[in-house]
């Protein structure tokens, strides 16, 4: 169980190697990498390309929230290893934002736990995205689909 919040990029291969090495009980490792996607936004007559964003977070609370989400995943699935690395600060299109990994003897548990971790961290960890557009800065609104995705794990019994 590891949670890290950092400004610098992470090395996916090295992180996963460290996570699984010396643990021969992992049969399946599911990994999610979230990246800054180049987007086009229409607002009135303008069409802006979003080339970068700034991620703000709440130091102290962020780590606690991520650790609780991770502990919840271990409660629900038989996991051998989990990892959450989330960046903050200024990120450009194509940059990595977040790395989430869940390793289990069984692939179903690895898939479900990884999806759960991603869904919950989106709605329960204190991060905020500020987009840079040619027209200026714009705070990203919460995505309705995220709340729905997070809600599907509410009250679900242990798999």
């Amino acid at each position: 169980m590891t949670v890290r919040v950092q400004e610098e990029d992470f090395d996916v291969g090295a992180e996963l190697e460290r996570l699984t090495q010396a643990n021969k009980r992992i049969g399946g490792l599911t990994v999610f990498v979230g990246l800054v996607r180049e987007m086009h936004m229409r607002e009135g007559l303008h069409r802006d390309r979003i080339d970068a964003l700034t991620l703000e977070h709440y130091p102290g609370m962020t780590e606690k929230a991520l650790e609780e989400i991770e502990a919840e995943a271990h409660q629900r699935w038989p996991l051998e290893a989990t990892l959450i690395v989330h960046r903050y600060g200024r990120l450009a299109a194509g940059d990595r934002i977040v790395l989430v990994a869940a390793g289990s003897p069984h692939r179903e548990a690895a898939f479900e736990a990884c999806a759960f971790l991603v869904d919950w961290l989106k709605t329960k960890a204190p991060f905020w995205k500020l987009e840079d557009t040619a027209a200026g800065e714009k705070w990203v609104g919460a995505h309705e689909g995220d709340a729905e995705a997070a809600a599907r794990w509410e009250g679900k019994a242990k798999a």
Binding site: Y58, M61, K64, T123, P126, D146
Partner: protein, 83 residues
């Protein structure tokens, strides 16, 4: 008690944080919100009724009826958009 603001609320209030000493009848987060609104136009706008924001007490998300007793740090923020 320290009060912190994040994301657009920080810009609207015009402060990242402030030290406040609310009177004894400010017992819950909802009470604190109402009391803070009177501090400035920025406070009033950021903490307006109907605005979509949440709160945390000492690094843990808390509902608006949560008691403030013993709180060191209260934070206000818009819905999270990480990941």
């Amino acid at each position: 008690m320290k009060v912190r603001y994040f994301a657009w609320m920080k810009r609207t209030v015009g402060l990242a944080e402030e030290q406040v000493e609310p009177p004894a009848d400010v017992r819950t987060i909802a009470d604190l919100v109402a009391w803070l609104r009177a501090r400035s136009a920025g406070h009033a706008e950021a903490l307006a009724e109907g605005a979509a924001f949440g709160a945390a007490i000492d690094h843990r998300t808390a509902p608006f009826d949560a008691p403030l007793a013993g709180a060191q740090e209260v934070a206000f923020f818009p819905p999270f958009t990480g990941g």
